[in-house]
Assembly symmetry: C2
Homo-oligomer: 123 residues x 2
């Protein structure tokens, strides 16, 4: 598919798709006329990238961990350096912290909204 379709299907500005490619987060073939040509799986990939960006990971890290998250695992096994493992462990721990933080604040907001609603009903 070409970039326009990918853009609409992922609700992502064309500009950003090119940016993600520049950052090597997604890849594309080229049609004879130079247009980018994406495979189907890139749709999910873009959504995943956006999710990770949204959650505060920088492109640098995303680029590192992406290959471990969706490709056929075994293919990548032999290439995993201790360094990479360390990075993954660090990121995994940071993610756990973030989940905890988000969960706590999510709960606080929920509680607050509940209280507000009770208050309104009571008044």
């Amino acid at each position: 598919m070409r970039i326009g379709e990918l853009s609409t299907r992922t609700r992502t500005p064309v500009r950003l798709l090119r940016y993600y490619e520049e950052q090597e987060l997604i890849a594309s073939d080229r049609l004879p006329n130079g247009y980018r040509d994406y495979e189907e799986y890139v749709v999910d990939r873009v959504l995943q990238v956006r999710g990770l960006l949204d959650v505060g990971l920088p492109t640098r890290i995303i680029k590192q961990i992406l290959p471990c998250l969706n490709s056929p695992r075994t293919i990548h096994m032999p290439y995993v350096t201790p360094d990479m493992v360390a990075t993954l462990e660090r990121e995994r721990d940071r993610m756990a912290e973030k989940i905890e933080c988000l969960t706590k604040n999510h709960q606080a907001i929920t509680d607050y909204l509940d209280a507000v609603r009770r208050n309104i009903r009571a008044s």
Copy 2:
């Protein structure tokens, strides 16, 4: 306490503490000599702010939702506008999405690391 102590206790650069104050995320009194003087509770506040920033929320939003998260709730009740409620609901939902995204990817990394370890032990 003065800014240096707050900085070490929160492991946050002094520069950022001043920035957070500029963005009205934290407040300080001033000593006669002009030095900032923080109350004890600011320590937790800073940590909470950093957690939220880390998780991708902009200062603008944090500023809005903070009062609802830790102050004595009832005091703020009367001032909650429908607008504010809408913002809170929106953020709460976005947080839920982020939690989901993080959880999924956290699990993927965990699985991957497990596989790597099995592979190493097997080889």
